[in-house]
Structure formats: C-alpha cells, structure tokens
C-alpha cells in the first residue's frame, strides 16, 4: 500500500514536470510559441473549448461513432468467430482469406467511404468497423481453438447439445480472448473514428482539430489534441475495468487479486 502511494506521488511528479517543461520550453524561446504554446495558454484554450456547445457536440459525435462501430465490430467478430471456430471445415476454408484481408490497412477504404457515404456517420462507421472487427475475430478464433479437449469430450458424453456445448464449454474458454480483442478493438476504433473526422471531415473532434489547424488557432488545436489523448486514456481505463469485471471469475484475475 505504502509503495503504491509512493508510486502515485512519483507519477504525479512526473506529470507535473512534463507540464512544466512544456511551459518553459516555449517561454525560454527554445521553440517559437506559435509552434508550441506554453501549457498555461493551452489550458486557457481548453477552458474556452469546454464552454463551447460545439465542442461538446463534436465530442458526442466522436463517441457515438466509436461506440456504434465498436458494438457492430464486437458483435460481428464474436458471432463469426464462434461459427468459424466451431466448424473445422469452415475454419480451414476461410483462414487464408482472413490472413489476406486482415493486414489491409483500413485507411485504404477512405476514398471508397467518401464516394459511397460522403461525410456521413456511415463512412466513419465503415472505417471503425473494418479496423476493429479483425482484432475481435482473430482473438475469438484463438479462444475457440484453446478449448480443452477433455472438457469437450465430457460435454459430449453427458449428451450436451450443440448450443449447450457452445454456451457452457466454448464460450467460457473464448471469453477471455474475446475481452482482450475488445480491449484492442476499443483503442483502434477511437483512432479510426478520429482519423475519419480528420481526413474525411465527418463531424467530431478530428474535424475540430483540422479546422483549428487551418484557421491558425494553435492553442485550441493543442487543447483538442489533449482532449483526444484524455479520451484515449479513458477508453483504455474503461476497457481494462470492464475486463476485470467480466473476468472476475477467471483464474488469472483471481490469482492477481489474491497476490
């Protein structure tokens, strides 16, 4: 406990030092302050942003695109992963296709998204879903493969039906993998949501950043980048909290808590 608190203080000191450094570098003239405004000016701009309704609307747009896209990707990835993973013939037939489609960078779809949907929410969703779907699918496929053959044979000999086997044997094994996939996908989905706004111009934080950049509002631009970073931290923390909660029954989590 004691060391935990000391670590906390050290972390806080590190953060304070970082902010102080960013205040001093432009003030001392090492970097011109039109490139890197001091922390205090960025903080002022951030306060200004927080008072603007348009900022909250943009934040809402970003979060909506992120959440809907992530939900679609997780739902599709888990369903398809369970299906492909449980039928060996399907898995063998699709694995080369998956290996080919997965590394295709999702940004390759940007021009297509613009043509089909313009700056609509749907073009953001296309990018978010494509990027995060593979993270979930691959993890679930690994998870289904990891099912203990003894447990599966036991379920067979007790006469469990297909659904009962998936529910009671496959699903508990695959869940930790699926949750890992979810955590990876949550971070990727945010990156792609912001990318779509920045490049395509769908409404959201990314678009606000692009607007601030073109209009030369440098402190506001930095303030929005800070908001995007905080959003990323929030997404990571939330995904990790969810992971602990969903997997509270799992041996790896229980061992961690006991230790």
């Amino acid at each position: 406990m004691r060391t935990g608190r000391r670590r906390w203080w050290q972390g806080a000191a590190g953060l304070a030092g970082f902010l102080l450094l960013l205040e001093l570098i432009p003030r001392a003239g090492v970097v011109p302050d039109r490139y890197l405004p001091p922390t205090s000016r960025v903080a002022g701009a951030l306060a200004g942003e927080l008072g603007r309704p348009a900022f909250w609307a943009a934040l809402g747009d970003t979060l909506a695109g992120w959440a809907i896209g992530l939900a679609l990707a997780v739902g599709g990835g888990v369903a398809l992963g369970l299906l492909l993973g449980s039928v060996p013939a399907l898995r063998a037939a699709t694995s080369s296709t998956i290996e080919f489609l997965r590394p295709i960078p999702s940004v390759a779809l940007i021009p297509l998204a613009v043509l089909l949907f313009g700056t609509d929410l749907r073009s953001k969703l296309l990018l978010v879903v494509y990027a995060s779907f593979w993270q979930v699918l691959i993890q679930v496929l690994h998870g289904v493969q990891d099912v203990d053959p003894v447990a599966m044979d036991t379920a067979h000999s007790y006469g469990l039906g297909r659904w009962a086997r998936i529910r009671h044997v496959v699903w508990p094994t695959a869940l930790p993998y699926a949750v890992t996939g979810f955590r990876l996908a949550a971070a990727v989905a945010l990156v792609l949501a912001v990318t779509a706004e920045l490049i395509i111009g769908s409404p959201g934080l990314g678009k606000e950043i692009a607007v601030a950049q073109t209009s030369g509002a440098v402190p506001a631009m930095y303030a929005l980048v800070v908001v995007a970073g905080l959003l990323g931290v929030g997404v990571n923390l939330a995904a990790r909290a969810l992971e602990r909660r969903v997997l509270a029954w799992h041996p790896s989590t229980r061992r961690e808590a006991a230790a």
Binding site: G14, A92, P105, V107, L115, I199, V218, G229, V233
Partner: protein, 259 residues
C-alpha cells in the same frame, strides 16, 4: 500428396471463388462507383506499373521504413532505460500512458505546423505513431526478464554491453518484436494518412486525387495496391520474426512437449 493438394485447395479455394464472384458480378456493371474488375486490373497495370512506382510508391515506402527504423531504435533505447529503473518507470508512467493514448493521426496537424508538409513531417508522424507500442512492449519485456538469468549474469560478472546484449535485449526480444509488429500496422496507416492530409506526392495523395477527380477504376486500383502492400509487409515481417525469434518459438515448442 493428397493431403498437400487438399491443403492447397482449402487455402486457395475461397479467395479464388471470391475473386471469380467479383469478376462475374461486376462484369457488366453499369454502376459508376463499382466498375468491372477487369477494368480495375487494367487501370492497375497502367497506373502503378509505370513512372508512379518510382515517383509515388517508392518514396512512400522509404518514408515508412525510415520512420519505422527510427522508432524502433528510439523505442528500444528508451524502453531499456525506463524498464531498468523502477523509479524512472514510476515517474514516467502517467506521461507515457497519456502520450500513448493520443490517437496518432491527430498529431498530423501539429507536425504540419512544425515541419511543413515535406518529408520530415511525414517521417515524424510515422515515428510518433510507431514509437509507443515498441517503447511500452520493451519496458514490459525488460521488466519481465528471468531472475535466474539475471543472477547468473551477476555471478559470472557479465556487465555493461555484454549484459545488455545477451541478457536484457535477448530476453525482451519477443516483446520487442510484438511491439514492432503492432507498430508496423500503425505505420502503414500513418504513411497513408500523412499523405492524404497534406502532400503533393505519394501513395495516399495519389489515391485521394483519383477519388476527387472521379477516376473510379484508378481509385479502386489504389485501394487494391494498398491492400497488397499491407499483406506483403506483414508477410515480410513474419519472415523477419521467424529469423529473429526462431530460438524462442523453438523453446516454446520444446517446453510444451511433443503434442
């Protein structure tokens, strides 16, 4: 022999079927946005296999490799420093968590501000995105090194460079390679985005130009090229990984026993 034929059929069957389906379904497509595949392939040959290969594709790839290399060196160096010192780690952890959580594309406007729209900006963007996965994975790898090996090194008086090379880097290399793999896929995305956002040449720029000029078959051929590049880079990286981590995978297999 029949086993091999079966495997080839399984691996190639679905991709060929999908390509054939695309070919047939789009053969007499009148839709402006979905041109026949034959037309896309023709555009591919005429667009990319000429001067553009040298003028646009190659510079993009070189920037990607340069950024990736710089990020790898910097990430491993910083990661070893941070991972070896508990105090440094406790101090920097919150700052690193925040910097990592910033979606890398939002840094594009900042780097445009600082470095203009030239090569420096694009390489900086790629470095800034690739650095974090490598850095954080290196820190984890350096932290998790085997205590027995550590003690053995101390007993035998292995210090300095030899210790760094044979103990620290060697035992964290699986994590470093994992970080590099994540960084590579982020790097491809950033290569494309930095060119789409502001550039006068390069792969991303050219594809966006085609889309804006409604040169639809050319745009599709660009998407195809990005996909192929993604696949080729991931295959190349897998080759690299097998070479560098052959000892590790062999060790893991031996530990699991002949199954």
């Amino acid at each position: 022999m029949t086993g091999l034929a079966r495997r080839v059929l399984l691996a190639a069957g679905l991709p060929l079927a999908l390509l054939a389906l695309w070919w047939v379904a789009s053969a007499d497509s009148q839709s402006f946005y979905l041109p026949p595949l034959s037309q896309i392939l023709e555009a591919f040959a005429s667009t990319w296999l000429g001067a553009r290969l040298v003028d646009d594709v190659l510079p993009s790839l070189l920037r990607l490799l340069a950024g990736f290399a710089v990020a790898t060196v910097a990430g491993v160096a910083l990661g070893v420093a941070v991972g070896s010192s508990p105090r440094l780690r406790a101090t920097l952890e919150p700052v690193l968590e925040f910097l990592r959580a910033i979606p890398p594309p939002v840094l594009v406007p900042i780097f445009i501000l600082i470095a203009g729209i030239g090569t420096t900006m694009k390489v900086l963007v790629i470095v800034s995105g690739c650095l974090w996965p490598i850095l954080l994975n290196t820190v984890e790898g350096v932290r998790a090194r085997d205590e027995v090996l550590e003690d053995t090194c101390r007993v035998y008086g292995i210090r300095g460079r030899a210790r760094l090379r044979h103990l620290v880097l060697r035992s964290s290399s699986p994590q470093i390679v994992t970080g590099m793999r994540q960084a590579l896929s982020i790097g491809i995305i950033l290569m494309v985005i930095s060119e789409m956002f502001a550039a006068s040449s390069g792969l991303g720029f050219t594809i966006i130009q085609f889309q804006r000029g409604f040169a639809i078959p050319e745009m599709w051929s660009g998407i195809l090229l990005l996909g192929l590049l993604g696949v080729a880079l991931s295959l190349a990286f897998r080759g690299f990984e097998d070479r560098v981590l052959g000892w590790y995978h062999g060790l893991r297999r031996a530990e699991r026993g002949p199954s």
